[in-house]
């Protein structure tokens, strides 16, 4: 009980810092995911349309995912230096797999009958993609976005090791100072942020699914 009051008063005292860290954390995640969407969705569509290059694209993003997050950030640090940008690039690579894979599966899953119907209406290949395949693949894409966001919030916590800010700062300094209060002041908001992203995007995923069915 005493510990909770202590933690709360610490958090109240350092409100500004913690809010700044939370803000940095969210910004890092949004930039990383934004880049991953900009690159991942076209890659997913390419993989779905051209079966020959699909295994290449999918296995490449798969291998990226196996690289330990700390190692990925460390290697990027060698080439891009310390700081925010490097962390964003790391998050980008990490969010790529769920987004590419789910876009690919979503576009692939569209029933061949609907494709035939689209063609029958005189649509060109691009029109079928834009008006039939992409709208129907949105629930899959949303599921990928949800997984990607949870991963990105998690990996962003390691960013302090390569000199970026975010809630990880509080956790990392808590670990090195053996300060339970600092650990919790960083870990609880970080965990809540991840759970929050998971819940909100899960809710949106179900809504897009409902709209289609």
């Amino acid at each position: 009980m005493e510990f909770i009051t202590e933690l709360l008063s610490y958090m109240a005292e350092n409100k500004e810092n913690l809010l700044q860290y939370t803000f940095d954390h969210i910004l890092m995640v949004i930039y990383g995911i934004g880049m991953a969407i900009a690159v991942g969705v076209p890659l997913g569509i390419l993989a779905a349309r051209y079966e020959k290059i699909a295994p290449f694209i999918l296995s490449t993003v798969n291998v990226i995912q196996i690289i330990p997050s700390l190692a990925m950030l460390a290697i990027l640090m060698i080439y891009f230096g310390l700081g925010f940008t490097t962390a964003v690039i790391g998050l980008f690579f990490y969010s790529l797999l769920p987004i590419v894979r789910n876009t690919y599966v979503g576009v692939k899953e569209v029933s061949p009958n609907l494709l035939e119907a689209g063609k029958g209406l005189g649509m060109t290949g691009l029109q079928v993609l834009r008006k039939v395949q992409l709208p129907l693949s949105i629930p899959f894409f949303m599921a990928g976005l949800r997984v990607a966001s949870v991963i990105a919030v998690g990996v962003a916590c390691i960013a302090p090791y390569i000199g970026a800010d975010g809630l990880g700062r509080e956790i990392v300094s808590g670990i090195s100072l053996r300060s339970e209060i600092k650990i919790y002041a960083g870990a609880i908001p970080a965990a809540l942020l991840a759970i929050f992203a998971d819940t909100i995007l899960g809710f949106m995923e179900r809504r897009t699914k409902k709209r289609i069915v």
């Binding site: 291998v63 196996i66 690289i67 330990p68 997050s69 700390l70 190692a71 990925m72 460390a74 290697i75 640090m77 060698i78 949870v150 919030v153 998690g154 990996v155 962003a156 916590c157 390691i158 090791y161 390569i162 990880g168 956790i171 990392v172 808590g174 670990i175 053996r178 339970e180 650990i183 919790y184 960083g186 870990a187 970080a190 965990a191 991840a194 759970i195 998971d198």
Partner: protein
């Protein structure tokens, strides 16, 4: 060319400690996954016997929360309870392994054709015999593929265990970041990836053997 020679020299000098890091790494991952399997396989089988859907979804939601919490946050939260070192790392990674293992085993048992179970009952199989001779063997491909993916990811996440003093290849990477030493970073990374991929390969082979 010179970098390669330098690197070979580095490996020759340091291979004992590199092997030690790899051993620690495998040990942490192995312990976490073993405890994960020991808990989740029986738990998932029990869950398939529970008729109450609300209870099942609550259990899955709870394990899902563990999966959602950022790795380093979960590792750090362990420190006040278990101190630093091997034990808190294994516990945190064990919590991470629960969801994929539980989900796959559950899905595997659930996927067994009810007709087969009916005919087993008709032949007079008891609960235990039905479970061990029919359900588990038929669910094995699912269970194995759950173990395979979990192992690959846990090996990758074990790198972070170094942050709370558990050792493993993360130590090499963290040291490399601190000293700005490319060789240390790359060695740690490559060994971690190779370990993960070879586990993937080995389990894939075992999976094929078992399902044939």
């Amino acid at each position: 060319m010179e970098t390669i020679l330098d690197y070979i020299e580095y490996l020759q000098e340091r291979y004992v400690s590199i092997l030690e890091y790899s051993y620690e790494h495998l040990l942490i991952s192995f312990l976490a996954i073993m405890f994960g399997i020991l808990l989740t396989v029986p738990a998932a089988i029990l869950l398939t016997r529970v008729k109450n859907d609300l209870f099942n979804s609550t259990v899955f939601n709870i394990v899902n929360v563990f999966q959602t919490i950022p790795t380093i946050a979960l590792l750090a939260i362990m420190i006040p309870f278990f101190g630093i070192g091997l034990q808190p790392a294994v516990i945190a990674l064990f919590l991470y392994s629960l969801l994929p293992l539980l989900r796959n085993t559950y899905a595997g048992i659930k996927s067994v054709d009810p007709g087969i179970i009916e005919s087993a009952k008709g032949m007079g199989f008891g609960q235990a015999k039905q479970l061990f001779t029919i359900e588990i063997p038929l669910a094995l491909p699912y269970i194995m593929s759950g173990i395979k993916t979990t192992t690959v990811y846990i090996i990758s996440w074990t790198t972070l265990a170094a942050v709370i003093g558990a050792g493993g290849l993360g130590d090499l990477i963290l040291g490399g970041i601190g000293l700005n030493d490319k060789f240390m970073i790359f060695t740690g990374t490559f060994i971690a990836i190779i370990l993960a991929l070879s586990m993937d390969l080995i389990f894939g082979k075992v999976e094929k053997k078992l399902t044939r």
